[in-house]
Symmetry: none
Subunit: 134 residues, 4 copies
């Protein structure tokens, strides 16, 4: 299994922190490896305490299903094909902010989850972090 | 980080109890500190037992995201940007009754959660408690 | 069922706080009612965060079995008749600091749990709180 | 309440990683803030997966009681005054590897937990991390 290294995880965190500062938001940033286990984490000063858990759940959710968390959320609404999938795995988060991390060859080697602001900003910061690796 | 004192927490509880008696309701009242840890609690005679947990979850939720719990609930409905956020953090409560507590300078130093009656009354009592500190 | 009132619970908390100040310790103090449900709580400035849960578990444990928590701990040691009873009820605490609260007639109407210093001081403060009611 | 900054937390992680490399061990390293909430985390390549949770629990335990986790373990043995305290707070870890983090004035502003090798090495790495801040 190709797996993210700590150096790659830390570069994703650094890129996400940089992006957060550029757009003026306070974020929690979590990186999981190919096995969906926590690899790196950082919380900015005064970032929401409730987002510690959400950032980690977004990262795990993105790797659990190898897609952006927001894509799962589109399917988990009432009447949707994955309605209430959030009850599985000890709690999933299916709104935007979780993004798979790929290596240069396109293989998924982990995921990043970001929480602390609007879901649009969470997704933008997560994407910046993931891009720093691939 | 500025943090609520026990004296401030107890004055918030006292103000909430006073408000509860004025409007004739039986409440559970929880105060958490800046770190979202329980600081003070009081349950009135014959107040709902199920509200012991809800009052504490409301207080934590309000501090976790530094906003009134009802504001989060507006975003966590089906189709909303934070749909099913309640699955995070071991269970959030996102209907009204949780209110951040600010000091005189406007800094958030904790939160109050109230549960035991209609969400409108829960919110009114929580607001009275928070106002006693700021 | 005879049950502790909020006024009685608050007087037990006040007596426990007074005792804590006299002996110079920083405590978490929890009161449960006859149904072993949380009735009142207070945490002094800079009291151990890990004692929030322990104080509540001591109070519940004392009411669950209508005896001082330390008495249960004597029976839960390796080879004892209640070995590892701490695994039940979502986690019990069986070292000193939990004391049943009786009314003037000797009926148990709740319990107090105190945590934040040595088990001897925890027990002394809990006893002072319980004595304020009976 | 004085609180650890992200920069301080990251310098503690960096010092702990450096120490780990010096002694040739693979570690999980967790930092919590003054409120015992996760602030930073890093897992080295091939470090034990089971230590992700243990490192975090060690950090929280050290801040919960403002002492090294091993000191608590000395009191939680059979016959000890804190026997089975590990059942509280959703699970404590009371063997060495958790160390409070102090600022230059000696105030506790968070804690570090390290897990991945012998408890002696875990403690040595945690101490190196904490020393980088104070």
């Amino acid at each position: 299994m190709s797996d993210i290294t700590l150096a790659q995880a830390q570069s994703a965190v650094a890129a996400a922190l940089q992006k957060s500062k550029e757009i003026g938001v306070k974020m929690n940033i979590a990186i999981v490896d190919a096995g969906a286990n926590l690899k790196a984490f950082a919380r900015m000063e005064n970032a929401w305490l409730g987002s510690i858990d959400i950032a980690q759940k977004k990262a795990r959710t993105a790797r659990y299903f190898d897609m952006n968390t927001g894509d799962i959320g589109n399917l988990s609404q009432p009447g949707g094909s994955l309605y209430n999938i959030e009850h599985s795995n000890g709690g999933l988060i299916t709104f935007p902010g979780g993004v798979p991390i790929k290596d240069a060859s396109g293989t998924i080697i982990g995921a990043i989850g970001v929480s602390g602001d609007s879901v649009e900003n969470d997704h933008a910061v997560a994407s910046a972090g993931a891009a720093a690796v691939s």
